[in-house]
Amino acid sequence: MSRIFASVRRSDPRHYQIAVLSLLLLYGVFVLRFDVTPVRIALVLLTALGAQYACGRAFRAGPYDPRSALISALSLCLLLRTGNPWIAALAAVVAIAGKFLVRVNGRHVFNPTNLAIVSMMLLSRDAWISPGQWGNPAFFALLVACLGGLVVNRAMRSDVSLAFLAFYAAFLAARSLHLGEPLTIPAHRLMSGSLLLFTFFMISDPRTTPESRLGRVIFAFLVAWAGWYWQFRMFHTSGPVWALVALSPVVPILNRLLPGPRYEWARSRQAAADVPKGASRETNLDPSAVPAAGR
């Protein structure tokens, strides 16, 4: 048992993410009756994988690795709603192309899913997020999956997720206390499947969060505050999603002010050994894979 657990821990955290997102999508489609058809899912998955292949070739990014593209595509299927299949496909292209095109210091700036969703909502009138698509039982299933992810992927910079959740909860609770509302109100707002997905599958993206722990906590604070303000003081929806895309350009600045080890999804022992002095990398996760741009 412990060997299995240890091998899971050693494996690429993206495998866990792909498994969890796939299960959530199946649950959403078959139990919660999400408004997304199998054809649409296939379209988004294939477009994302195709775009990853094309961009990889065009930017000479090394061997083809479908894992990140799969995560982006599954997340898009879970979050983005549109009546137009072309918008769904375009979102998949934007998610992947954004990783290759919008880069600062060799890192992509935006979380692919986040960028794709916001671009589609800005560019088209036919795209939206349904924050109310998860029910309470789904919330608890999701919570277990997310907490499982924390355990399995302890190196996956879950500090940014936990910090975000703590700050966001604090803002919600403080506002409700100020207004004299019962605490069931902030509790209900926190028990949102969409918020959990955002916390554990979007803001947690180790490739687009600051490199130092302090930077990540500051970033989590900024996103939590802006998202809360946008949603509960400006009365718009999906505050955290908008806040993350608006604040992602701050990450390169935070990295300059508070440098830290750069995260790679996976690297070889040799590659780890090749890291020059002063630019140490985090402990590896997968001793067999090679880092490549665009992952």
């Binding site: 939206w128 109310g132 039982p137 207004l179 949102s192 009365f235």
Partner: protein, 446 residues
């Protein structure tokens, strides 16, 4: 002593008056016409930040007892208030109500007969002068405006503290339930104002209306929500709320509760026709339980300019304007048909499962959806007529079994009872189905 009725179900009953339920109204004499007898109806016409809300009350008690308090985001002037017509809400209700559709099976022997008709769900749902200014100031309550519109006297209040507002309302003869002040307080801190309406008996008798007409308020605010919290303070059990949202671009959904579309499109046994109201009531109860009592149900989402089948004729532009759809005429004058999309949401809420106010968003989802249930009348010819007739009857038996299972699944009714009800009347697959012969007599065709 007046009771305060707060639409959006801010029901504050008087201690001396009949219990809250009697007053929260929205039920009428015929039991089948108002299934959800603690239901209220609200229509929201919204584009951008502009909103017109229409709130209907079926209040049947002593009109002296009627009063209503609504938190509103801005000070409302006299020009922003209008008294609407109940008939318009009734039309909107019947137009979008869950519906029963009837079809007639074709003659399997070749004579074609096709008829379709629709029936609306059998009435499914349905569903003073102040004291001195100095004293008001001391309580932190300010009368921002005071006017009479139609049969209502209206006050717009602002307050700085909930206890002051509570004291003021009590002093004016309103009775608040325990817990209401806290909720009022949270609205005060959100800088909301309070719209207080009561019936002006003199005006009411002059106008000659027998029932209270709906109050309409037009306002501009980024908040796309319905305040339901006050309504849960003193409620005895869950209440039903029907929200008709009229927008330009598409379906409206809740952002802070789960959205569920009610099951639709099932074939159900013919005997349900006489009790369609009971059927839908049972179906809705079961859906609410299945969704852990936490969901907002979509019963209808469709562009206003057509319907299929129509439970009632679509609303005219004039009727839509009467419901506050302010962009209808503008678009018409530009020459094109005005985009109007209707979403009907049905919420059964209580304090435990709906702790916060309902928040909505408009999506661009134009997919048509309606709660529609199908009854198929069997062909009545003899199975001996042709080979097609024999296989028709075999299929019919299977279909009847499926209809029974579908009905049990939708309503939770027992299969035994359903089969019993189906064993007589039109649902019974009669003797002619066998062409006068037993099954074993038909094996060898001798």
């Amino acid at each position: 002593m007046k009771r305060i009725w707060i639409p959006l179900l801010f029901l504050l009953p008087a201690a001396s008056a009949p219990p809250a339920r009697a007053f929260c109204g929205f039920y009428v004499a015929q039991a089948d016409a108002r299934l959800f007898n603690k239901a209220s109806r609200v229509a929201l016409a919204r584009d951008g930040d502009r909103t017109v809300v229409t709130m209907s009350s079926d209040f049947k008690g002593d009109l002296k007892e009627f009063a209503v308090v609504i938190p509103v985001p801005t000070v409302i002037t006299k020009e922003q208030v209008h008294i609407g017509e109940t008939a318009l809400l009734d039309h909107l209700d019947s137009f979008s109500a869950p519906r029963l559709v009837e079809y007639f099976d074709e003659d399997p022997c070749g004579v074609r007969e096709e008829r379709a008709m629709s029936a609306p769900a059998a009435g499914l749902l349905m569903m003073k002068s102040s004291a001195g200014a100095a004293r008001d100031d001391a309580l932190g309550v300010r009368i921002e405006a005071r006017y009479t519109v139609g049969e209502y006297d209206i006050l717009i209040l602002s307050a700085t503290q909930s206890s002051g507002l509570g004291t003021w309302l009590r002093r004016e003869g309103y009775r608040l339930p325990a817990g209401a002040e806290e909720v009022l307080g949270s609205y005060i801190r959100q800088n909301m104002h309070f719209f207080v309406a009561k019936v002006n008996l003199k005006e009411q008798s002059k106008l000659g209306f027998e029932t209270l007409r709906p109050i309409q308020v037009a306002y501009e605010s980024p908040k796309f929500m319905l305040p339901i919290r006050l309504g849960t303070v003193n409620a005895q059990g869950p209440q039903d709320l029907l929200v008709f949202v009229i927008t330009k671009s598409g379906r409206v959904e809740s952002t802070n509760y789960r959205n569920v579309k009610v099951p639709t499109g099932m074939d159900i046994p013919l005997y349900v026709k006489d009790g369609f109201g009971d059927f839908y009531h049972a179906l809705f109860d079961r859906q609410v339980e299945n969704a852990s009592r936490e969901a907002v149900f979509t019963e209808y989402a469709w562009p206003m300019n057509w319907c299929d089948p129509c439970a009632a004729p679509p609303l005219s532009n004039e009727e839509l304007r009467g419901l506050g759809v302010f962009w209808v005429e503008d678009a018409a004058t530009r020459g094109g048909p005005a985009p109007v999309f209707l979403t009907r949401l049905h919420v059964r809420y209580d304090r435990e499962h709906f702790p916060e106010d309902l928040v909505f968003q408009e999506t661009s989802d134009q997919q048509s959806f309606q709660a529609r249930y199908v009854m198929r009348h069997p062909w009545k010819g003899s199975a001996a007529g042709c080979d097609g007739a024999r296989s028709y009857y075999e299929q019919l038996r299977r279909r009847k079994g499926e209809e029974a299972r579908a009905l049990a699944g939708l309503t939770g009714w027992g299969m035994g009872e359903i089969r019993h009800r189906m064993s007589t009347g039109e649902d019974a697959v009669g003797a002619n189905s066998a062409g006068g012969r037993r099954w074993y007599e038909r094996i060898w065709k001798n």
